[in-house]
C-alpha cells in the first residue's frame, strides 16, 4: 500500500507558486470531504454516524453520495441516535465482513471507546475517524492533538492496541481510508484515522489516487452457520487461562504489527543535527520551519510519524544511531507523543518540546526560534 502514501506536500512560496514542482489539481476539497470520497472510492459498504463538529462534513458528504451509482458498494448510510449507537451499529456491520466506517470528534470518540474495546477484543476490522478538537470536556472547535493517548493506548477498558494513522494533508485524508481498510482486514483490528479540526476543515487541491479493488478474507463473519460449522464472536472468556490465551494472542498480533507496519516520512534528515518530530498539521508547520532553518544554514530535518501506533521507533533509533543528538517534538497538546519519542530513544539524545493547546497553532517562526534556542 506504499503507493497510497503521498507524503508531505511540495512547499509553495509566498505567492502560492509551487517551488518544487506542480501537481495536476482535479478537485479542491475540505479534508473531511476528501476523506469521505476516499472511503467511497475504496468500496465503503456502510457508514453509521452521529453529527459532531468539526467532523460533520464526513457524514454530510456520504449522505449526499448515498445512492450514487458510482459507488455501488455503498449500501448503508444511517444516522444513529448517539455515538454509542453508531459504534455498536459499526460492530454489527463489521461482524458481517463489511467495510464499515464511523467518524467523530473528541467527545464522541470518548463515547465510542466502549465499543472499540469490544471490537478490538472480537478482532473486528473497522475504520474510525477522530477529527481531534479542543478539549478536555466540551473544549472548543479548534485543532488539537490531545486525543493521542486515547487513540494510541487503546482508549477503552482492558488491554489492547489499535493501529492509528495520521494524515498530514487533504490528499492524504483522501488516501488513508484505503490504507486503513487494508490494515484493518489484514490484521482484523480497528484502525483509527487520527486527524484534527485544522486538516478536517482545510481546503487543498488533490487528485484521488487509483485504488485497486480490495477483496478481503471474511470467513470468520457471522453470516449464518454452514452445516455444523458456526461463527461465534465473543469478547467473554470466563475461564482465566482462556482469557490469558486470548490476550496473549492480541499481544503477539500487535507485536507483528509493530514489526511490519511502522510508517514514517523523513524530510531533510540525511545530514541533520536537529530533527523535529511532528505529525498531522504540525508536520506541515515543522516542514516549513525546516526549510527556513536550512535557509539559515542550520541543518534541521523532520521525522513525520504516519503510524502513531505502531510508533515509528526504528526510524527514530536510526537517526540517533546516525548521530542526531537533538530532537524537538512538536504537538498540539501538553506532552503526549513526546512520551513515545522518549520511550523509543531513552536517554540517548536530547528531547525538547514545542507545544500549543486551546486550538492555537505554533507558527513556523516559533519553531525556528525554538530550534535556534536549542542550539545556543
Amino acid at each position: 500500500m506504499r503507493h497510497l502514501l503521498l507524503g508531505l506536500p511540495r512547499l509553495c512560496d509566498r505567492r502560492g507558486i509551487e517551488v518544487e514542482g506542480m501537481t495536476t489539481a482535479r478537485e479542491f476539497l475540505k479534508g473531511n470531504e476528501a476523506l469521505a470520497y476516499g472511503a467511497l472510492k475504496t468500496g465503503l459498504n456502510a457508514f453509521f454516524g452521529y453529527p459532531i463538529t468539526p467532523s460533520s462534513e464526513i457524514p454530510e458528504t456520504l449522505a449526499v453520495e448515498f445512492g450514487n451509482s458510482q459507488y455501488p458498494a455503498f449500501k448503508v448510510f444511517l444516522q444513529a441516535a448517539s455515538e454509542i449507537e453508531a459504534i455498536n451499529m459499526v460492530i454489527g456491520a463489521a461482524a458481517t465482513g463489511a467495510k464499515v466506517m464511523a467518524a467523530t470528534s473528541g467527545p464522541g470518540f470518548s463515547l465510542k471507546q466502549e465499543g472499540i474495546s469490544y471490537a478490538a477484543a472480537m478482532e473486528l476490522p473497522m475504520v474510525i475517524v477522530d477529527v481531534n478538537r479542543g478539549g478536555p470536556g466540551l473544549g472548543n472547535l479548534g485543532p488539537e492533538q490531545t486525543d493521542y493517548f486515547q487513540a494510541t493506548r487503546g482508549g477503552g477498558h482492558g488491554g489492547y492496541r489499535n493501529i492509528v494513522l495520521a494524515p498530514c494533508s487533504v490528499p492524504e485524508m483522501a488516501a488513508f481510508p484505503a490504507l486503513a481498510f487494508s490494515l484493518a482486514f489484514k490484521y482484523r483490528i480497528p484502525v483509527i484515522i487520527l486527524t484534527d479540526a485544522f486538516l478536517g476543515q482545510l481546503k487543498e487541491d488533490l487528485m484521488f489516487p487509483e485504488v485497486p479493488a480490495q477483496q478481503f478474507e471474511t470467513a470468520w463473519a457471522t453470516t449464518g452457520a454452514r452445516g455444523p460449522e458456526r461463527h461465534v464472536l465473543s469478547s467473554m472468556h470466563l475461564e482465566l487461562p482462556e482469557l490469558n490465551r486470548h490476550s496473549e494472542h492480541l499481544r503477539s498480533k500487535f507485536e507483528e504489527i509493530d514489526r511490519s507496519e511502522q510508517r514514517s516520512e523523513k524530510y531533510q534528515t540525511d545530514d541533520a543535527d536537529v530533527v523535529l518530530v511532528a505529525y498531522g498539521i504540525c508536520a506541515r508547520l515543522a516542514q516549513r520551519a525546516v526549510k527556513d532553518l536550512r535557509a539559515k544554514r542550520i541543518r534541521a530535518g523532520l521525522l513525520r510519524p504516519i503510524t502513531l501506533s505502531p510508533f515509528p521507533k526504528r526510524e527514530l533509533l536510526a537517526l540517533v544511531g546516525r548521530g542526531v543528538q537533538n530532537f524537538l517534538v512538536v504537538e498540539l497538546n501538553t506532552g503526549q507523543m513526546v512520551e513515545d519519542v522518549q520511550l523509543a530513544i531513552g536517554g540517548r539524545a536530547r528531547i525538547e518540546t514545542a507545544q500549543k493547546v486551546g486550538g492555537l497553532l505554533p507558527t513556523p517562526l516559533d519553531l525556528v526560534r525554538r530550534v535556534e534556542a536549542m542550539r545556543r
Binding site: K75, E85, A94, A95, Y118, T222, T223, G227, V232, L233
Partner: protein
C-alpha cells in the same frame, strides 16, 4: 412433544438448533425454558443457517453456548444497535437478541427505543425478572415497589427511584414496532401447590414463533417474558412462582400491546 394450538409445537430432546450443552442457569429460572422455545421455533422455521443471535450482558450472555447458530456478543445494552448493523448489511438474516431487564430497560433503553422507533426488522426477547441476576441481585429498573434487593435493603422506595419501568408499554407508544407482547412465562401454581399450569410456556412458544414471523414480514418484534429469579429474590422455586403470579404479573400484566400485521389472529 407438546402440541401448542395446532401447528405450534415445542420439540423436546436434541435439536440441531441446540448445542446440547447443559445450561448454567439456576434451577427454577425461565432462561432455560426460553432457550428451548427459541431453539424450537428456529428449527421449525428451518432458519438455523440464516440466523445470528446477539448476546447481551447479564444471564443471557452465554446464550450462544446453548443456541447453536452464529452469534456475536454486544456490549451491555447495545444489542439492538449491533442487530441493526447486521440486519442493515444482511437483510436476509434472521437476527435476534435475548436481553435482560437491566440490559434492555436500563443501560440500553435508548438503543432499544431507537431501534424500535426505526422499525428495524429484528427481534428482542426481554427476560424481565425484576432484578439484576448475574451481578447478584441489585435493584433493576423493573424491580417492584417494596422489593428488597442488595441495593434496596429496606425495599425499593419509588419516591426515591421512581416506579418500575414498563418497557412494553413504552415501546407500544411508538409507531415503529410491529409486534409488542408480554407473556407471563413461569408455571403458575394453584393455591394448594399441587398443580402447575404451563400456559406461560405455551403462550411463550406462540409468541417466539410470531415474533420471528413478524421479523420476516419486515417488522420490529418485541416479546417481554415476565420471569423469576428465585436465587436473587431469596425465595424457594415455588415461592418465586407465587411471587411472579401474584406480584410481578400485577406490575407487568401480560397482554398484546401491538400487532401491526395481525399475526396473533392467524
Amino acid at each position: 412433544m407438546i402440541e401448542v394450538q395446532g401447528h405450534y409445537e415445542v420439540k423436546l430432546g436434541p435439536l440441531p438448533t441446540l448445542t446440547g450443552k447443559p445450561t448454567h442457569y439456576c434451577a427454577g429460572c425461565e432462561h432455560g425454558t426460553l432457550t428451548r422455545l427459541i431453539a424450537s421455533a428456529l428449527h421449525e422455521l428451518g432458519a438455523r443457517e440464516r440466523t445470528v443471535l446477539v448476546d447481551s450482558v447479564g444471564c443471557s450472555v452465554l446464550a450462544h453456548e446453548y443456541i447453536n447458530t452464529d452469534a456475536i456478543q454486544a456490549p451491555h445494552g447495545r444489542a439492538p444497535s449491533v442487530m441493526t448493523g447486521i440486519k442493515r448489511l444482511r437483510p436476509d438474516l434472521l437476527v435476534f437478541a435475548v436481553q435482560g431487564d437491566g440490559d434492555a430497560a436500563s443501560i440500553g433503553l435508548s438503543e432499544l427505543i431507537f431501534a424500535a422507533n426505526r422499525g428495524e426488522p429484528i427481534t428482542v426477547f426481554l427476560v424481565n425478572n425484576g432484578i439484576y441476576g448475574m451481578t447478584g441481585g441489585q435493584m433493576a429498573p423493573t424491580t417492584p415497589a417494596g422489593m428488597v434487593t442488595m441495593t434496596t435493603p429496606r425495599g425499593r422506595d419509588i419516591a426515591v427511584t421512581g416506579p418500575p419501568m414498563d418497557a412494553s408499554k413504552l415501546l407500544a407508544t411508538l409507531d415503529g414496532p410491529a409486534y409488542v407482547k408480554r407473556v407471563l412465562l413461569p408455571v403458575t401454581p394453584t393455591p394448594s401447590d399441587d398443580f402447575y399450569n404451563a400456559r406461560g410456556s405455551i403462550e411463550g412458544a406462540r409468541s417466539v414463533r410470531n415474533a420471528f414471523r413478524v421479523q420476516e414480514m419486515g417488522g420490529f418484534s418485541f416479546v417481554e417474558f415476565v420471569s423469576t429469579c428465585n436465587v436473587n429474590w431469596k425465595m424457594s422455586v415455588l415461592q418465586s412462582k407465587h411471587y411472579a403470579t401474584e406480584v410481578l404479573a400485577k406490575v407487568f400484566p401480560p397482554g398484546l400491546f401491538k400487532d401491526k400485521f395481525g399475526v396473533e389472529k392467524r
